[in-house]
């Protein structure tokens, strides 16, 4: 049976390059699954958990937003940051989320930094959720 090639790359390094039967990606409009033979697809990636299914076994990665390109049974994830769920520093994520939330309180919603901090809160929250799936 045809397999998917899944790659996750971040600006600082290539995280992963493996074969899998199915990939479930947190897309711009919700989770979507990819199996071999998927139509060419280009989507935004939201902070969340990416699941790989290979021979019935699941493997999960946290991705911090970016893009995904699906073409010719190849899933290319370009993430701002990514890590295996077992590698997540939960305490650090919680601390960063709290700090971002504290800064949010002092900011006006019109402030340009508001959106940035809000994105940080969403990202860290997704990171913590991802860590809980391991």
């Amino acid at each position: 049976m045809a397999k998917l090639t899944v790659e996750i790359v971040t600006p600082e390094k290539r995280i992963l390059s493996v074969q899998a039967d199915e990939a479930i990606v947190p897309g711009g409009e919700g989770l979507f699954g990819v199996r071999p033979g998927h139509t060419p697809f280009l989507s935004l990636v939201e902070p969340g958990t990416l699941t790989l299914i290979e021979a019935g076994r699941q493997d999960r990665y946290f991705v911090a937003g970016g893009f995904v390109e699906v073409s010719n049974d190849k899933v290319l994830v370009l993430a701002d940051a990514a890590e295996h769920v077992t590698g997540i520093d939960v305490a650090g994520a919680r601390r960063r989320m709290d700090e971002a939330q504290a800064r949010l309180k002092d900011l006006n919603t019109a402030d340009a930094r508001y959106a940035l901090e809000q994105a940080a809160v969403r990202r860290e929250a997704a990171r913590i959720r991802a860590s809980e799936t391991r």
């Binding site: 790359v9 139509t39 060419p40 280009l42 989507s43 935004l44 893009f67 390109e69």
Partner: protein
């Protein structure tokens, strides 16, 4: 003629200097390896991003590749970003960048050029000559990662989008090899994807491939994806320029220190020769004095 003691002192001091330059060379070699690894690590992301933009352009060649950061306008105001190092003793590394920037300023005196710097050396040079610096991105090297580079790129992009400047150029040392660096002036904004050109002038391969390619399905939409892709491409471009500059700096320092070490070795051997000659001359002189003294007593 210098006394024996003077020469001995000189030899000792040159030996000390050689020790230092040798150590600096080794440190640079280690840092160079790390910097090269960082360049290699950044490559897959940059290439994949480039590839996605190119595929997007090819697959939907009927639609325009439109984004504010791709927009070219008549160039009247330019921002020039210099990537220099914080430290010296790196051969021509910094002076080459500065010389190139000065040439640019001279050749484009009809434009309004504002200068920004990364690295203390470039900043010092322009400040000491009373040239105004719009912004010095100080301390970037201490925490150089994708995020910190992206912050700089985003600030430059904001100036471009606010119509403060019509183009942004980066002057930096392109890393060719450990001993070769190449100063380039590269256009950061408006972004010129190699791919936009490829799409505009289809090559035989893209034409042959085109009928087979169906356009992507986009989520949420083609424009939304493009809106994120393009700024990302700008960020990664600057990030790579910074990484190359760091690697070039270490390469330049390594060869400068290598030369300095060799020069010190040459100096030591010529001083040692002089020292031995002088010593011989002193002995001869003393002998002659003794012999002629004895001769006079007869």
């Amino acid at each position: 003629m210098a006394s024996l003691r003077d020469i001995r002192k000189r030899i000792r001091s040159v030996k000390n200097t050689r020790q230092i330059t040798k150590a600096m060379k080794m440190v640079s070699a280690a840092k160079l390896r790390k910097a090269q690894d960082a360049i290699l690590a950044a490559r897959p992301y940059a290439q994949t991003l480039e590839q996605i933009i190119s595929e997007l352009a090819v697959r939907s060649a009927d639609q325009e590749l439109a984004h504010p950061l791709l927009a070219t306008r008549p160039i009247r105001r330019v921002e020039l970003l210099l990537l220099t190092s914080d430290r010296g003793l790196a051969g021509g590394f910094n002076s080459n960048v500065i010389r190139r920037a000065n040439r640019y300023l001279y050749e484009n005196s009809n434009l309004q050029v504002r200068v920004s710097t990364v690295g203390r050396k470039g900043n010092d040079f322009f400040r000491n000559r009373g040239h105004s610096i719009r912004k010095d991105f100080a301390g970037l090297y201490a925490t150089l990662n994708y995020r910190s580079a992206a912050n700089v790129a985003e600030e430059l992009a904001a100036a471009f989008l606010n119509d403060e400047v019509d183009a942004v150029y980066v002057v930096y040392n392109e890393f060719v090899s450990a001993i070769t660096q190449n100063v380039v002036v590269s256009q950061l904004l408006p972004l010129q994807p190699a791919t936009a050109k490829a799409a505009a002038t289809p090559t035989p391969e893209t034409v042959a491939a085109a009928p087979a390619l169906v356009d992507f399905k986009y989520e949420p939409s083609r424009q939304a994806v493009l809106d994120r892709l393009v700024p990302q491409a700008v960020n990664i471009k600057l990030y790579r320029a910074l990484l190359e500059s760091v690697a070039s700096e270490q390469g330049a320092r390594m060869s400068a220190m290598e030369n300095a070490t060799n020069n010190a070795t040459d100096m030591i051997s010529s001083y040692t020769l002089l020292y031995n000659r002088t010593r011989q001359a002193v002995i001869t002189k003393e002998l002659m004095e003794i012999v002629s003294g004895a001769e006079a007593l007869k």
